[in-house]
């Protein structure tokens, strides 16, 4: 759990200074004033005492052991100080100093040397270029932040120091407490993956928040997050995923942003809840931090306004939750104790004159009902409302059950005192009901994930050596695209069906091949430059005989050359005619951060016009493929909707799994397209009509 970093027994602040204008002074002052109980040593070359603590000229001069050293000195001195720390046996470093990788050139080299020393001394390090870190349990404040956050159970990591200070400042006003607070800086050693591992099953952290600009090691991040989210919810903001945002991120961090689709798939597959706004990040954080985990998707709503009840009910349906159907016992209880005109069915409308007693009755009835998994309490301030008392009652009632309760007290002017009660009693309140519902819905998604069985990865037997030889041949010829024959061999090795086909380089050859394969045949141009073959008429279906084959060759060749003068035309492929079926697209694009991203959709307008594509990152489990295909809006067409015959869905799933294994086995593949995969009826299988593979 990175003891030396978060729970050191003694800390040296290298660069501690008596001058209040220096960062080293602020860091040391924070250390002294935060309530940290271990030994604290200021290190300064000349001064003998700082803030009443004896100062030492070097960390080597400190009498006892030093667990953690905080460095706030110019970059030029950092390496020498790290050497002294290493000799002293220091185990953890927090490097606040900037002037490393973020400035490029020499800074990058300096960072490389820094990290190699840290490794050599077997130390762990936060930073460099970090705001520092705070642990509210060990009362360690090794940062130059202006405030010490309240103690709480939210752990936060941020790649931006400035965002850290802003959050700190804001949360203090909101009464939100943290367990640990880390500014990752350049994350030369400890990065988001290391912190996820460190904070997994941390008893003091009920939820982990992350602000990320880039991810150092996509696959390791996914693996770590998969593990952690089985126990602890992780909510993250990933910035820089729009085109403009990624340009900003590229200029800021120098990282090539992974595609938005890859992030979306990565977060969904590893169970990270993705917040789109900082607001949403804290909506979820506060809910996870203060309320028990929801155990199902059925919610009840209690309101003193019919209109607000309806708005919230709509939000429930949109958010993937359902409205509970109350048991007869609940209805009877409500009937007995609420006014006759109140609505007893979900949403429970207590009417505008409701005071705290009605809220208490309704909440008890709803929370006691086994058909209710979570409760949303709505209040609009009315003349008769006893706001503070109602808030007290809500908190007290919620505390008697192990189901999450959230509120939406709408308004502002008259609500101050009531909101303060909700805040101190840890009932998450949202200004509007939609946010309350969305937060519960996210909580349910997390719950669902914790209940999911472990993923099953299939492994198909493959003649991998043959496949490697094909890639090696392409590489040694300096080619970046496999030729038609190589593609067929690779796909066949991975158990995919491909039609029999041969390359013709003249009209006569085409006619001969057609006779060998048996007419009718399909003919299409083979050229690395021409992607949209059928659009330019360079594909001829149902070529019936030898003379048609000769004519088709000439026509295809002509059209291809006319479409793209100078195109590299390899010839015309003569292919066995495959009977029609559903046309499916499977495409893989290797994302620079997360690896192979597998896209699935129905070819043609479904993909191109409706953008109906489902993305997942390989390696894919059987369950993930199952969900991926069902995520398509066009999925009912595959099942056989509107008079269309059903397709062999199992064959599509198997093809995706085999492709997933192929791209994981062969990291040289940067792009792969199966378009179309022709899918026949259930049990009849699927066959790859056209494919291309790009390698690096």
């Amino acid at each position: 759990m990175l003891q030396a970093i978060f729970a050191p027994r003694s800390v040296a602040v290298i660069g501690a200074s008596p001058d209040p204008n220096r960062i080293g002074h602020t860091v040391f002052k924070n250390m002294v004033e935060s309530g940290y109980t271990g030994a604290v040593f200021p290190i300064h070359p000349q001064v003998t005492s700082i803030l009443g603590h004896r100062a030492y000229p070097s960390v080597l001069a400190v009498p006892g052991p030093v667990d953690l050293a905080v460095l706030a000195i110019p970059a030029a001195h950092v390496l020498a100080m790290v050497d002294e720390c290493g000799q002293k046996g220091v185990r953890g470093l927090v490097v606040i100093t900037s002037g490393f990788k973020e400035i490029g050139g020499e800074g990058k080299e300096l960072e490389r040397q820094l990290i190699s020393r840290v490794r050599a001394y077997n130390m762990r390090m936060i930073g460099p270029n970090s705001l520092g870190l705070i642990d509210t349990y060990t009362r360690l404040n090794a940062s130059f932040a202006g405030l010490m956050p309240d103690t709480g159970n939210i752990a936060l990591m941020s790649q931006s120091g400035a965002i850290c200070t802003a959050i700190l400042d804001w949360s203090k006003g909101q009464g939100i407490g943290f367990s640990r607070f880390v500014s990752l800086g350049n994350k030369a050693d400890i990065d988001e993956v290391a912190l996820l591992h460190a904070w997994n099953r941390d008893p003091q952290s009920k939820v982990i928040l992350a602000y990320l600009e880039d991810i150092s090691d996509g696959p390791a991040f996914i693996a770590a997050a998969r593990e952690v989210t089985r126990n602890t919810p992780v909510v993250a903001i990933k910035s820089g995923t729009t085109a403009a945002g990624s340009l900003a991120a590229a200029a800021h961090t120098g990282s090539l942003a992974g595609s938005e689709n890859a992030y979306e798939a990565a977060f969904a597959q590893c169970g990270i809840l993705r917040a789109r706004t900082v607001n949403e990040l804290f909506d979820l954080a506060v809910l996870f931090a203060s309320q028990p985990l929801i155990q199902g998707n059925r919610v009840a709503i209690v309101t003193n306004s019919g209109g607000m009840g309806i708005i919230a009910t709509d939000a429930v349906a949109h958010g993937g939750l359902t409205m509970s159907s109350f048991s007869p016992v609940t209805i009877a209880c409500l009937h007995e104790r609420l006014p006759p005109s109140a609505n007893l069915y979900n949403p429970i409308d207590l009417l505008g004159d409701a005071r705290s007693d009605r809220y208490e009755v309704a909440m008890n009835a709803a929370l006691a009902d086994p058909a209710v998994d979570g409760l949303i309490v709505l209040l609009t301030p009315q003349a008769q409302s006893d706001l503070v008392c109602t808030a007290e009652v809500i908190a007290a009632t919620a505390a008697r059950y192990t189901k999450p309760v959230v509120t939406s007290f709408m308004g502002a002017y008259s609500l101050g005192a009531a909101l303060e009660v909700l805040r101190t009693r840890q009932i998450p309140n949202y200004t509007f009901p939609e946010r309350a519902v969305q937060s519960l819905a996210a909580m349910y998604r997390h719950y669902e994930r914790t209940q999911r069985p472990a993923a099953i990865y299939r492994n198909y037997a493959v003649p991998i050596e043959q496949v490697r030889a094909i890639f090696a041949a392409a590489r040694s010829a300096g080619r970046i695209e496999l030729n038609e024959r190589e593609v067929r061999l690779v796909l066949a090795a991975y158990g995919l069906r491909v039609p029999v086909s041969r390359l013709a380089r003249s009209p006569d050859e085409a006619a001969e091949l057609g006779t060998t394969l048996g007419y009718p045949v399909v003919m299409k141009v083979v050229s690395p430059d021409i992607l949209l073959k059928s659009e330019i008429g360079a594909v001829q279906m149902g070529v019936a005989d030898a003379s048609a084959a000769r004519e088709s060759f000439t026509l295809i060749d002509y059209r291809a050359r006319k479409y793209w003068p100078g195109a590299r035309i390899r010839g015309v492929l003569v292919q066995e005619l495959v009977r029609p079926g559903r046309e499916v697209l499977i495409a893989v694009n290797r994302d620079p951060q997360f690896g192979p991203l597998v896209a699935l959709g129905l070819s043609g307008v479904y993909v191109e016009v409706f953008k109906d594509v489902a993305f997942r990152l390989a390696p894919l489990s059987a369950q993930e493929v199952h969900a991926q295909i069902r995520e398509l809006r066009a999925y009912p067409l595959l099942r056989g909707a509107g008079g269309t015959p059903p397709a062999d869905i199992a064959a599509i799933e198997e093809t995706v799994l085999r492709v997933s294994q192929l791209v994981v086995d062969c990291p040289e593949i940067v792009e792969l397209d199966l378009n179309p995969l022709i899918v026949h009826g259930p049990g009849e299988g699927a066959i790859v009509l056209d494919a291309r593979i790009l390698v690096q």
């Binding site: 400035i103 050139g105 990058k108 085109a243 990282s255 090539l256 940067v670 690096q696």
Partner: protein, 355 residues
Amino acid sequence: MATLYVASTETFVGKSALCIGLLRRMQRDGFSVGYMKPLSVSVAHTPDSVLDEDAAFIRETLGLNATLDQIAPVLITPSVVESILRGQTIAYTRTLRDAYLAVSRNKDIVVLEGTNTWSEGALVDLTADQVTDLLQAPGLLVTRYGTTLNVDTILSVQRYVGDRLLGVLINQIEEPQFDFVQSRVAPFLESRGIPVFGMLPHDPLLAGVTVDELLEHIGGQLIGQRVWCTRTVESLMIGAMGADASLSFFRRRANKAVITGGDRSDLQLAALETNTSALVLTGNFRPSPQVIDRAEERQVPIILVPDDTLVTVDRAERLFGRVRFHKANKLQRFAELLDEYFNFDRLYEAVGLPR
């Protein structure tokens, strides 16, 4: 003494490279060789002279003792053209014959580098047809297999010069056509009495330009090390799309130069993620330190130019197609191709060189 005229009907088919390749091999096979270029149309002006750079390069490379005036005796400059148009007559055939006598003295064979096209030289009576007749030099026709092979051209050259067409070399044949050329085209030409001395596959290294050449051609400031500039550039790609689509786009070609705005860090990083030989950044924007670092890791040179992207592309494109051969690695590669795919014994026999 034998003479061989290396002829072509279009530019940039690999004539100069072939001359060097033939001469070197002949030297290696123990022959004493001479070289000359009867007619020079593209000449370079230096402060103190006017010369044919290619001819000068070949003279130096092969260590020939003839003077440059003898090797490239007829230089067609604009002022020469003007004086002929004014009515002045200059006896170039005489100049040529004298130079030829000097170059061929005590040589086993002289290789003549011919004109670019069939009509070139008509103004001074030194077309391929006229020179091969004048010096009684049989011609080796170099053609290339671009997207199609122009068999018509070969046949009409044969019709024109008859027996003086010794045979052909088919250059730059793309791999998928190689088999077709070998099994269909070559037998056809042979049956028409046109020997096919060699069929050379297309080689990306020979077709490309180096980053050095690109830098020299478009100018600009180099960021990165000079030694990385020996990388070959086979094609140009323009970065002007959204970042999302860029990676897939850049992956489609290897050994390319990517031309993009200096302020597009996202595209620059995407290009560096793929097989890229150079980044050309326009608008005189210095790239961010992060891009420079990444380029350093990948050893990819960055060229900074003041022009906008459109102008830069326009200028860079002019470099392609006119392949320069003044590079040791290219000459070496071409020599290897000749050793493998060119029938020297058959050529020696055809020109009457005793082995």
